[in-house]
């Protein structure tokens, strides 16, 4: 039987900012994880007064995880890594 929690790591798109995330509740959604994780990774929440959207990519499978997915349903396993990717525009 799988643990109720997960231990993974998260990295920004440049690969220069890495954090270990442990005792993750598998019943948490990807969106909830990102909401909590983004400020802790020192990434900005707002840009130009608007909320910046972030996505999670499961590095082992290359899959982009949907915000509404529960972590338990993502295929994430202990020691996996996610990349936190912003959707953002330059003008």
């Amino acid at each position: 039987m799988k643990n109720k929690t997960l231990d993974i790591s998260a990295v920004d798109v440049s690969g220069q900012n890495v954090v270990n995330v442990s005792r993750l509740d598998r019943e948490m959604s990807v969106g909830e994880l990102l909401d909590s994780l983004v400020p802790k990774m020192r990434l900005p929440v707002l840009g130009n007064g608007r909320r910046i959207t972030y996505h999670a990519r499961h590095d082992r499978t290359g899959q982009h995880l949907h915000a509404s997915q529960l972590l338990a349903d993502t295929g994430l396993e202990d020691e996996d890594r996610i990349t936190v990717q912003p959707s953002i525009q330059a003008g």
Binding site: S14, R42, P44, G47, G49, A90
Partner: protein, 368 residues
């Protein structure tokens, strides 16, 4: 790295005639300030990482004329156990990006007109002690920063200087940035082929340390953001863009780092075609500017103090180049060097004159 903020900061707003509007608690993004100190330590000491034992603290530097509680700058002091201490200062212009949000309540109350200029000053007060953690509120996960060393290669700065030519105004406090001639040629090719749309690439390369201790950058390649969506005035980056860049970088297999990005402002296409050439030449759209959206991309994707942004502006008179990077927690225009690859030096580029930063020229200037 542990961060400490023994003070809270308040912005006092004034009308241009000196009439006080009121105070607003400052909600600042302190990350560029912390990062300034981290990079200052990497430059000062022969280290490649800031260990978990490091402690950084924000300290108000009292205003020389007004005295406490008014702030003339904010000092970021960083202690690295067993290594040493660095200190740097961010100016009060650091709070400029917050001033717009701070003024909103006064605009709402009719005390300030929308778009009306105002002044601000910053005051600091000791923070009350932190309330104890509520034991009922169990965190849903634990997080621990990983101190990844910055890959730094040994190289001679003198050797790079001999093979390069300077573009734009150089500030001795900035680290030197060498962009290979090949990269410049590729960016210009992409700029000319963009057909009036914006376009962008990621700049990759190496961080070097000279035997004298000085750090400098070498941009060895640009990876075109081919899945970015481009219009005449925007270029949008999403997961597909980042995936493609990561794959391309891995395929190159050279352990290159993300050093920054470049993007194109197709200014000729922005300007009103009915305007006379002499009017177009004076149009603010034909000058370099780093928009507030550009600042957001830089803060979100390129927050490291060494990361740079190259802007190419396609004007009626040809392509203009301007580079931007972090200095004391702020995004500023800066010079760079073009690195020859086969012995000869480069024809000088036409750098742009002073660019505006954080203002949206494209949205407030001329008809298009």
């Amino acid at each position: 790295m542990t961060t400490r903020q023994p003070h809270r900061y308040v912005m006092e707003l004034f009308k241009r005639n000196g009439a006080a509007l009121g105070q607003v608690p400052v909600v600042a993004d302190w990350e560029p300030a912390w990062e300034t100190a981290r990079f200052a330590a990497l430059r000062r000491f022969p280290i490649a990482t800031i260990g978990p034992g490091a402690v950084a603290e924000l300290r108000p530097v009292w205003h020389t004329d007004l005295g406490a509680p008014f702030v003339g700058a904010v000092e970021v002091a960083l202690q690295l156990p067993g290594v040493g201490e660095v200190s740097c200062q961010v100016p009060t212009t650091y709070f400029k990006s917050f001033a717009g949000a701070a003024s909103a309540p006064f605009v709402g109350k009719g005390l300030l007109k929308s778009g009306e200029y105002f002044n601000y000053r910053i005051a600091a007060f000791a923070n009350p002690p932190e309330p104890p953690m509520n034991p009922q509120r169990k965190p849903r996960f634990q997080i621990e920063e990983v101190s990844e060393p910055l890959p730094i290669r040994a190289a001679s700065l003198n050797d790079f200087n001999k093979r390069s030519s300077a573009v734009g105004e150089q500030n001795e406090s900035d680290i030197r940035v060498f962009v290979s001639k090949q990269v410049v040629a590729e960016t210009e090719q992409l700029a000319r082929a963009a057909g009036g749309l914006e376009t962008a690439s990621i700049l990759v390369g190496h961080v070097h340390r000279d035997p004298g201790g000085e750090l400098f950058l070498e941009v060895t390649a640009q990876i075109h953001a081919r899945y970015a969506e481009a219009t005449a005035t925007k270029v949008s980056f999403g997961p597909e863009t980042w995936d493609a860049v990561s794959h391309a970088l891995a395929l190159r297999g050279k352990n290159e780092q993300w050093l920054g990005w470049w993007h194109l402002h197709p200014s000729s296409a922005w300007c009103n075609p009915k305007c006379a050439p002499e009017e177009r030449a004076k149009c603010p759209l034909q000058r370099s500017f780093f928009s507030s959206d550009d600042c957001d991309v830089h803060r979100t994707v390129f927050p490291k103090a060494f990361q740079v942004a190259l802007l190419i502006t396609s004007t009626d008179a040809g392509l203009r180049h301007a580079m931007f990077s972090w200095r004391n927690g702020l995004i500023v225009q800066r010079g760079f060097h073009i690195l020859a690859t086969n012995g000869e030096l480069n024809p000088a580029l036409v750098p742009d004159a002073t660019a505006t930063i954080g203002d949206d020229q494209d949205e407030k200037a001329c008809s298009r």
